[in-house]
């Protein structure tokens, strides 16, 4: 039996959307008609065409101009009243209108998840009274949804930010949408949110900002060219779209170009519109709108009998709160930074989905899947960091990899555990080290040592090294005390970016040295086997090449080592093929079928250099996952 999903629904005055827990993460349910400019929400429009067709969302909005008598918007404002919509001879209650929006979300969710949905959590404004709440529940019932709970919008937003997990604080939620402003002050403590006060303005929002920008563009153009774009439908449409786009762009850049070639034409020829809108200018244009936010804000504080110093958390909801000027306004007024990290247009739906998952038993004790913040690995030959577990891997997790010795007759290896993002061991944080001793003497590269990293759900790391030959094992446990604070993690990640180029170079240098060293070793070993099979001429060439690499290794010139290494590779290749030709001739004479052996360059290290000079990971050292 699969447990049924409970979806979360943000049923808004101008826009609505749904969300659901998917793989432990709240995810917005995409609207069947595709996304709008602003995001994944769809407009809260419902319409009936004269021929009786029902339209919901985008299609309903698109025909609103030609069918105003059949189109309903902002039905949320009429919830809980006995208002009746009379449309083409039929009557509809606000609950029924809302149910069409809920039905659409239900359908989209079913298409998205591929399973039937019958349960939902719906959000309502904190100021909704009993009538309005009952009406919302009824709307759900009509839509075929069992409304398992109604959640206040500011509460849902706070939950999206994880403010429901611990602590006690007073929260200010500033919700500026397309057409309404809601300010809510809440208190959280003992696991519950209590609304202390609400205030707002039902006619204030992002649409007013778009209009202000549109008017400015039209005025500027009139001043410049003497043409009023407002009388040209096509131009009005283009300018409106450009205004909204510019507003969104200016949240991330400081100025933007508004370019509209052939926006209009006169006797003298075509007219182009080209102007620059800076963020400063935009802020000046919308300043009157921002100023209107002050009164509801002060009112809410006054009603809650608090001062701004009492507020500990500030949460922003709604698209326009993405604008830096809006954020600055709030921060200046409260004297406190706003919470960040969740899309303000999605946080209400996300909070509702989280509440749904809690009620559905999906989340019992808010076990959130954790990740390793930094890469974990060990130090290998030449001071290189070899990664075992990459950063952002979801835990619990286990990874193993086989390593070997770097020198002949080596009987012990040191496992040096590292945490960090830099490719060279020394640049990372050392979490500890231990030795695995008693490895039977063997040529380098022969012993097989399995190193395993095992991180449990609480982040404790168990590192073990096992000699697969003898079964001997050494372990070490790294507990939380050796782990890093969040600020350190951020610092390390940014440092890694900063030194990326330089580190890459250093790592390459070491790798070239390692390959050269390893090939000389292999060449010397196989040289004796080749005696008698190839011409003495070729043997001399091999010797010369070995001397060349060795000499280069004394110095620090990587390019030189690389060049000498290549020479040796070529000569070895030549020798190898000469041997094969000879062997083949012999085999042809005796019998066929003996498999060709390893060509002698099987130095089983972490990485060896193949004949073509490209890096190959030796087959013996594949990462074994279990």
């Amino acid at each position: 039996m699969g447990k049924e999903k409970i979806i979360g629904i943000d049923l808004g005055t101008s826009n609505s959307e749904g969300a659901v827990m998917l793989g432990g993460k709240p995810t917005i349910i995409p609207s069947a008609e595709g996304a709008t400019v602003a995001g994944k929400m769809f407009p809260s429009y419902v319409a009936f065409t004269p021929d009786g067709q029902l339209l919901v969302g985008e299609p309903a909005r698109r025909q609103a101009v030609s069918n105003p008598e059949g189109t309903v918007t902002a039905a949320k404002r009429k919830m809980g009243t006995d208002h009746v919509y009379r449309i083409y001879g039929k009557e509809y209650t606000p609950q029924q209108i809302s149910s069409f929006l809920l039905q659409k979300i239900k359908r989209d969710a079913e298409a998205f998840l591929g399973e039937p949905i019958t349960k939902a959590v719906i959000t309502v404004p904190a100021y909704f009274n009993d009538n309005q709440r009952t009406a919302t529940k009824d709307a759900g019932k009509i839509a075929g949804l069992d409304v398992v709970r109604l959640v206040n919008e500011p509460t849902a937003a706070s939950m999206a930010y994880g403010l429901d997990r611990s602590g006690e604080y007073k929260i200010l939620v500033f919700d500026l949408g397309g057409g309404t402003l809601d300010v809510t002050i809440m208190e959280f403590g003992g696991g519950t949110f209590t609304v202390l006060a609400t205030s707002g303005d039902t006619q204030l929002g992002g649409t007013d900002m778009d209009t202000a920008i549109f008017e400015w563009i039209a005025d500027e153009f009139k001043k410049l060219e003497g043409i009023d774009l407002r009388s040209d439908k096509m131009a009005v449409n283009r300018v409106k779209e450009a205004a909204e786009k510019a507003k969104i762009e200016l949240s991330t850049v400081l100025d933007t170009e508004i370019n509209m070639p052939y926006v209009s034409a006169t006797q003298a020829g075509p007219k182009h519109l080209s102007m620059k809108l800076t963020r400063a200018k935009l802020e000046q244009l919308i300043e009157p709108i921002i100023r209107r936010c002050i009164q509801p804000f002060e009112q809410a504080l006054k009603d809650a009998k608090l001062t701004k110093n009492d507020i500990q958390k500030v949460i922003l909801v709604g698209g326009p709160t993405r604008m830096p000027v809006v954020q600055k306004f709030i921060e200046d007024h409260v004297g406190r930074k706003v919470e960040r990290g969740i899309d303000p247009m999605e946080c209400v739906a996300i909070g509702a989905a989280i509440q749904g998952a809690i009620l559905g038993g999906e989340i019992t004790d808010m076990v959130l899947l954790d990740v390793t913040p930094l890469t974990l690995g060990i130090e290998t030959l030449g001071g290189v960091r070899t990664t075992l577990i990459e950063r952002n891997t979801t835990i619990p997790t286990k990874k193993s990899q086989i390593f070997s010795t770097a020198a002949d007759l080596q009987t012990a290896v040191t496992i040096h555990v590292l945490q960090g993002e830099r490719p060279m061991a020394a640049d990372n944080v050392s979490l500890g080290q231990f030795n695995l001793v008693g490895i039977p003497t063997a040529p380098r590269g022969v012993p097989q040592i399995e190193v395993s990293f095992d991180i449990d759900a609480s982040g404790i790391i168990n590192v073990s090294a096992k000699d697969l030959g003898t079964g001997k094992e050494q372990k070490m446990t790294i507990t939380a005390s050796t782990k890093l604070a969040e600020a350190d993690v951020k610092k390390m990640v940014s440092e890694a970016k900063q030194y990326e180029e330089q580190d890459k170079q250093r790592k390459e240098e070491v790798e070239v040295r390692n390959s050269a060293d390893s090939l000389v070793y292999a060449a010397e070993k196989t040289k004796s086997d080749l005696a008698g099979k190839i011409s003495s001429d070729l043997i001399d060439k091999v010797n010369a090449a070995i001397v060349g690499v060795k000499a280069a290794l004394e110095g620090k010139d990587t390019a030189k080592i690389k060049a000498e290494l290549e020479k040796l590779q070529n000569v070895m290749g030549e020798a190898g093929s000469a041997v094969y030709q000879e062997t083949a001739r012999q085999q042809a004479r005796s019998q066929a079928g003996a498999p060709p052996g390893n060509d002698g360059d099987g130095s089983p290290r972490q990485e060896t250099t193949g004949p073509g000079g490209e890096k190959v990971v030796d087959a013996d050292f594949k990462v074994k996952e279990d």
Partner: protein
């Protein structure tokens, strides 16, 4: 002795309950993961199909601008040249599945068109009178609806303005 037995029994029951609970949760998690994997595959297919959607959407304005430039070009040779560039551009994009949405003279359909205005005339109500902005679809998906002016309804049904 019995007391100890009782305690152990209780302890065992508690452990069994806990084991059941955990096992159950594991199963849900596994199912959830499996579903996520399936969903992920579907999503990948969708991404491949509409990978170019955003880019093409942004390029539409260039297509519009070129089309707009045409009527005002005076030199015949220039006009011809720009028309060729425009056609070539459109051809490349149509190779990716871009198609203009048919419009003028058709009956208005909110799945493809967006009304910006209406005018009284003797045509059938909801007939598209003119196209203010061209709409496009990418394969089966409307990526930008046509912006249109339609013929006004002549007879007024009962109703109210709910806007």
């Amino acid at each position: 002795m019995t007391e100890e037995l009782e305690l152990l029994k209780k302890d065992l029951e508690e452990k069994a309950r806990l084991a059941d609970e955990r096992y159950n949760r594991l199963r849900y998690l596994q199912a959830d993961f499996d579903n996520y994997r399936k969903w992920n595959e579907k999503e990948k297919e969708a991404i491949v199909e509409f990978a170019n959607e955003n880019l093409i959407k942004d390029l539409l304005v260039i297509l519009d601008d070129m089309e707009r430039a045409l009527p005002s070009l005076e030199q015949e040779k220039n006009k011809e040249g720009i028309a060729m560039v425009w056609k070539k551009f459109l051809k490349i994009l149509s190779g990716y599945g871009l198609q203009p949405i048919e419009c003028t003279g058709k009956k208005f359909d909110p799945n493809y068109h967006e009304v910006l205005g209406r005018e009284p005339c003797d045509q059938e109500p909801d007939t598209i009178l003119n196209e203010i902005g061209r709409g496009y679809r990418l394969k089966s998906k409307v990526i930008r609806p046509s912006k249109v002016v339609v013929a006004e309804h002549t007879k007024k049904d009962e109703g109210e303005d709910n806007g």
